[in-house]
Symmetry: D3
């Protein structure tokens, strides 16, 4: 069982951290490969960064397809490019926000997402609506830039802890969802501290993907996730032009 995990930003230290998190929960028959695109933003903070991370992300998925992976995980909490990715491979594709919210829904009623920057709240609230948990999900920002999570000197963790505390006491959160792939290494310590389920999307997606692969299920191709129609893409994107299958 081979899973390709794509960090859609270009920061390799984050890719390594995310890959390690996935491997630490994966089954012994699972091989997780973590990659990131060569082109695109060093971190994804808002809609503009999202837009420029998708072509590189899809390029990595295309390479993965050539190598025959069994499933794909998009390791950005904005679930950037998820729909497009589902069009290009028959194998299942999961986003980490999607995975985390679904797992949280199995473990309690109200959930609270703690993310990095306020500007990401709108995206995550839209995802909560899409995944059917809007009525029981709140989103809070710790006002921590994504790359500050890579900096051990920053006060990022304290800010995140403050938001978790508020979510539990003020919003009756029963589960906490970590709203950025870069928080994946905090899961264990936060779980022990707060004594409610703390859910990391990277780990959640890895295990859900093993489940989907184990079920032998693939993405449905009769609706919006149909394979791209063959056509010409011009300019820099010529190499992405969909071919006849």
């Amino acid at each position: 069982m081979r899973i390709l995990l794509i960090n859609p930003n270009t920061t390799e230290s984050m890719t390594r951290k995310i890959g390690a998190a996935a491997q630490s929960v994966s089954g012994r028959d699972t091989e997780v490969t973590a990659v990131n695109p060569a082109m695109g933003p060093v971190s994804i903070e808002g809609y503009h960064d999202q837009a420029f991370s998708v072509p590189g992300l899809l390029e990595e998925i295309g390479k993965g397809r050539a190598e025959g992976y069994d499933g794909y995980i998009i390791a950005c909490f904005d679930d950037t490019g998820l729909d497009a990715a589902r069009c290009v491979v028959p194998e299942p594709v999961l986003g980490i926000c999607e995975a985390a919210m679904h797992v949280a829904s199995f473990l309690g009623g109200r959930m609270s997402v703690v993310t990095t920057l306020k500007r990401s709240i709108a995206t995550i609230e839209a995802l909560a609506a899409r995944y059917g948990v809007a009525h029981r999900c709140t989103v809070r920002a710790a006002e921590v830039p994504v790359l500050a999570l890579e900096d051990r000197e920053s006060d990022a963790v304290d800010r995140i802890r403050a938001e978790i505390r508020a979510a539990i006491s003020e919003e009756q959160a029963e589960t906490i969802v970590l709203g950025c792939a870069g928080m994946t290494d905090l899961t264990r310590a936060l779980t022990e501290e707060f004594r409610v389920p703390v859910i990391d999307g990277v780990a959640a997606a890895t295990k859900l993907m093993e489940a989907l692969i184990g079920l032998g299920l693939k993405t449905s191709k009769v609706g919006g996730y149909a394979a791209p129609l063959p056509k010409t893409y011009l300019g820099d994107f010529a190499r992405f032009s969909p071919k006849e299958n």
Copy 2:
């Protein structure tokens, strides 16, 4: 990894079939035990049968807890007793409707559930709302009694096939969810015939439960799933009286 799968009706042949379905998808480190209560209805068709299946179901979960299972699956598509079960054990509990609808949501847009009897539609539609997929889920009844699924001579399968065909052509269903645990052995043949993902809740719940156990996550106890308060239950139910933890 030990999973207890409870068929909440008392028909052992169905329990065996369900257990086999779970085992056929489970990982090699997973042990699935399938049981059914000694008391309660022989099949669950409507709210009355549901109500009388829950005490026996909870009794089996209680026994399972004493034996230290890592997770519990309720193998009736009505997700009967799911909330109560989540109160009595710290380990995760999944219903098969819940599991199937969430898996379907990862693989396509519109889903259609094909269940047994028209009287079950109301329950399943309420579950679709609870699980956040009501806007993209339709429910159809093949008008097949649950135990007819155990009878190889019946026309049950043809009726189910007719509903699947209608769901795909008339309702643009992208995935099909089999709406009864007793349909679990039809999954493969129907998948091949209809070329869209056909999802069996028993298999889906087994793999999702492996995922939850693998993540080390447990049910949150700070809200509605808190352990039952110690108190006296009178009469036949005295043995179920919650004790001080």
Copy 3:
């Protein structure tokens, strides 16, 4: 006009109090009989207690049917067993949460339910969604155990008053719904104190049931509330096996 009011817990003092509340509002042609099951929990606080109250509740409804009651009220604010009860008798059945929320909707915009324990909030919020008032209903817990309402020495009433005050000032509640059958005797005093409608589900259900009986209306049997199909229930529940009508 004969109404059977079932307190689904086994505490007779509460049954008497609830029965008195119903009688105090009932018409002079109405006879209200208040009963409770012999088996089941002494109070209903959370999903586990709910599950074990239903068989006893349905047994009382079955006895009532033999005696020819015209309507049935389930006097627990969780509306425990309501759907199953609607299957077993043709006469109308009401839950007290259902009755109270509908009555509140006739008298103002935003409503607030004040219930006993935090663990009951999830159930009541789900009922608010089912009854179509979720967008204008908040639920607050006074953290008062159900049986403390039977204890004149406790500070239960003060805690309830504090929550009502907060609901009006902080949440712009226009009506207050008392979220436990055991609060039925507080209605008058709280109404006078807070000068907004304070709605007791027991009284509300009694008058709504008189209305339904007066209209000659019965539960529809063509959908989810169809009579249980004849079948065998095993073990302790054999006596509940549905018979051919």
Copy 4:
């Protein structure tokens, strides 16, 4: 117990029919007075007629208040002027659509409203959303003008029967709501024919109003239903100027 039932159109034969329907279900301690305004449309078919029925309706409620009625019913299925009426009297006010939809919700899952003209569907669908039943309510028009219901020679009843039949067979309606006050005399025959609950809003509102009066509940005045602020109304409406209470 004295109830004022206002037919907001000016057709007296309809007022008499509606009044008779209310009296036929009212309790023996209830006095129902049916009136209609002297000014306004002879029937209410669409938004324009609605607008011009409200001042006359409120005038009748004002007269009723002077005579000390205990409750008020607006007998037009569009629930015309309901919010304004709730502002002008402290006693409860019900609309017949409101009453019928709530009663239907106690007796089954899916309901279908059969109304007169297609142009009324939008209003009734908006009311279904307001009353929290939109997800389980469909609205069908028999294309029968309101006053044709007063004409025994018309084919109005056959058209209504055809729509009821379609609602049950095609939309799985479990209850039928008659979507015009003028259909009130058809209730019994249609109930017998179709064997599902057929609900007339006039009767439903009469019994619900008896319930509200019996509960001693009044409209909340702390939100949108506060008494009109004293101010000057110019021209024809000078006599409606709200006074200091």
Copy 5:
């Protein structure tokens, strides 16, 4: 391009202010005429005032139709009489709440309406639901009577500023909607102070109406906005009786 803007209350100073606001944003080919009815309330604060403003409003629209206006704007934030107005003219009709909420939705995520009195909140929240922005709109009342906005000595503006400040800091409002036509002259100063878009419905409706007229679009007449059926209105309203077209 000739637009008729109707202030549905009878206060001429407010009509002049609203008319000036509309003209200040209108195109050079646009002629805006501001009128108010001769009959009805001097200000619109709650459901009762709304009801009595509609006949006068429709009378003005009828006069406008005779003069061949190209579009109509109802300049009360309650969008009083909007549906009825759409029935009586083929040309487009806009309400200022409708216009403001739609414009706000083009410029940001969460919006907050700051209105005059608490009693208006229910109406505006219902409009937010109708216009599809309920999930991202909050409504706050400055507790300023409508006519205090005409009084330069009052503390009205300070109260409005306080609510805007709270909306931005406590509710993460990204845009502010002024919830009363009488606030139209505050737009510029508030925009400069708060540095988020501050939207005045009068200006918004004027420009949207120019857009609709420029597109040559008219109200659809095949559903709820069909022209009123010809019929007799009695009494004071005889002059409003719809005629055969």
Copy 6:
């Protein structure tokens, strides 16, 4: 007033057609410039094409910003890249689906979108939910490839007409929305044929943009549409790296 209209696919004949449609409705003080990216797909049919149209689209908006346009329109019915575009310029940005659905909501109740290919339905339904019209909007596909709209010999128009006819008769559509920028030249003929408002998103967006510019309103920058944070984009996208403002 200068508006930049970006066709996000690379087909210049379509750009010219769209530009002409915009100019034909624009005011005499408005200058509309229609452009398309040099890189990306020749037509946008599904999620994959969408993803690869966004960088080119944003490049055109960036160029437009340098030239000081007052507003931007994205002329693809999928509203591709709308959120990202709102981050990169302070001036307002509109999508044509957004514009068309809002305009339709001003003119009638139920609307129906007729689009090109079935695979686009999921995207458009998600937009209907986002824009608050899901409850009154259906989406139908004529199964016409986008570029067939450029081919006068194809049966594209007949297929579109058949879908419009069905939408009106079967789904009670009161307005029709043309679900592809390439249908813009059909508006007049279809309006005349079907006698309900037929709305073209290109024209609608042009007039709404004139309205927004006329109001002097800009996108709010305090939430999700904040300007991109300065950071490095690697590889092909280096030139898109956000700079310090």
